[in-house]
């Protein structure tokens, strides 16, 4: 293990290099990321054995990954924003075909207006595609999540693609210290991959992508739900092994100063690191505030979240994307569903923030905590709030 200063993009491409996948397919749509550009340099320099396929669109990048994975290869790609949106159709095919493809996604806003900065609209657009979705606070978590994703995706009974999210620019383009593993340690951890079913296994011929109409389609979808349940089991198992290797523990979420907390913020990504500082500041003033950083968004850790949040008077839910339902963001909707009907149900308030990369700093987060503290004390607060916007 050694400590290096890397950007999020560098950290993720390094993880890809150490994974040494059989196939990487990529296309540089605007806005692409440096991840595949840096990885292509590893390919050109002969530092990986990967077959690097340059395709003509992101749709094709995912299609090529599907073909490679169905043939038994360990396949990866990486994308961002509009590129992810263009993959949408084929992402469903990757998930339903039970192909353990790994894809880092640098989270950025979808146009229009044209914007290349961070929000979670891209990943949330792919929320229902059947992919496992992990979120990372910083470069270290992005690196660790990519390596763990291989094992999660390839776990017996899971066989689902995994999307590893990291915040555009805030993490992808910022240099931070991270601890990286030796190449051999990564290889030992992920092990070699032999697909149970492969298109190239001519002795055991199988069909991928068949027609299944009223007769079998529903069963295929139902099995995906089961696969997600196995993913829910596999994620902490893989995390425990990873912790033995690195000393860095990962769960479905990370609680911060939750003991005796009466007001809690929950959310995804880099903002949760900033919120940690806001919690420290408010705790110094004697406020009972805490933080819950959610790592696993799909499958949604419903029972664990319900247990963790039960009895907390007020919870602020941070969404860096909107659903335009008029009823708040995607995390807010999920949490309401999970907590509905539960005992000791917290009051939930939604804050939609940071769209298109609008900065959110410690003072902003302290302001949000103060709204929530006031709500705890009986002041009225809108259920859904748009924070930091001109209106």
């Amino acid at each position: 293990m050694k400590r290096v200063a890397l950007t999020g993009n560098e950290a993720v491409s390094l993880a890809m290099k150490q994974i040494n996948p059989d196939v990487v397919a990529a296309y540089p749509i605007t806005p692409q990321t440096e991840i595949v550009q840096m990885f292509s340099q590893y390919v050109a320099d002969g530092q990986v054995d990967t077959e690097f396929i340059t395709v003509e669109s992101e749709h094709s990048a995912m299609s090529a990954s599907i073909g490679a994975s169905a043939s038994g290869a360990r396949a990866m790609t990486a994308t961002s924003a509009n590129g992810l949106a263009l993959m949408w159709e084929v992402m469903y095919i990757a998930a339903s075909s039970r192909l353990p493809i790994i894809m880092p996604v640098v989270n950025r806003a979808l146009s229009a207006p044209i914007n290349i900065h961070c929000d979670h609209s891209d990943a949330m657009g792919a929320r229902d595609s059947g992919w496992i979705q992990l979120f990372s606070e910083n470069s270290q978590e992005a690196y660790d999540n990519v390596i763990q994703a291989i094992r999660i995706a390839e776990s017996a009974n899971v066989l689902l693609p995994v999307m590893v999210n990291l915040d555009g620019f805030i993490i992808s383009h910022a240099v931070e210290n991270i601890d990286v593993l030796d190449d051999e340690k990564v290889q030992d951890f992920i092990g070699s991959y032999t697909a149970d079913y492969s298109l190239l296994d001519k002795d055991n011929p199988i069909t991928f992508g068949p027609l299944a109409l009223q007769d079998y389609y529903f069963e295929a979808k139902r099995q995906q739900v089961e696969a997600m349940k196995y993913a829910h089991k596999a994620i902490p198992e893989v995390a425990r092994e990873y912790e033995k290797l690195t000393g860095r523990g990962y769960g479905y979420f990370t609680p911060y100063r939750m003991e005796d907390a009466e007001v809690v913020i929950i959310g995804l990504g880099s903002t949760m690191g900033t919120a940690q500082v806001a919690v420290d500041e408010l705790r110094k003033e004697g406020n009972k505030v805490g933080l819950l950083k959610l790592r696993v968004f799909r499958p949604f850790p419903k029972e664990e979240l319900a247990r963790m949040l039960a009895g907390i008077p007020v919870v602020g839910v941070m969404d860096r994307a909107d659903t335009f339902s008029g009823n708040g963001g995607p995390l807010f909707a999920d949490l309401n569903t999970v907590l509905y009907g539960g005992e000791e149900r917290p009051e939930l308030y939604n804050f939609i923030y940071g769209l298109g990369g609008r900065d959110i700093n410690v003072s902003n987060l302290m302001e949000i905590y103060r709204y929530l503290l006031n709500a705890r004390d009986g002041q009225t607060l809108n259920r859904v709030n748009y924070f930091g916007v001109r209106e």
Binding site: I170, H173, D359
Partner: protein, 192 residues
Amino acid sequence: MTELVEIRWHGRGGQGSKTASLLLGKVASDLGLNVQAFPEYGPERMGAPVLAFNRISEDKLTLHCQIEEPDFIVVLDPTLLDTVDVTENLAPDGKVIVNTQDEPEKCRKELQLQPGQVYTVDANRISNEELGRVLPNTPMLGALIKVTGIIPMEVFLKNIEEEFSTKFSSRQEVVQGNMKAIKRAAQEVKGE
């Protein structure tokens, strides 16, 4: 140093403010400090005002936002003083280091700061003489290290030379030119 130090770089697209923040980050990281280095990306145009940031701390950094109240501000281009509020949200006892031919007192009055808060150095002339081009970012790094003392100068010089040697492995004259520019700026930077 124990406390968090936050630095904001003001430059124009093409002057290397991002590179300067990355170099500082890499050197501080090599010394075992926790670092962040990140630019503010806007429309990428040569000559447009740009920002870059550094956080350096002995403690783990979990902040992932722009810097609210910088302790130090580095201005790579004197023409920015007329167009951008470069001292915006400067910490109460913060310091500003400006690349300009002007004396610190004149610059300080222009920026409406207190005596002792403004340092100046003619980084354009230094880089022109040492590198044959106006590239103020590396000399301003030298001035920053001198003024702030966040890293001992000798240690900084040794580590930045290693960074340059990796970056410009086949161009020893660039390494030496940058090293001379940094050392000169550290000597020539003036306060009141």
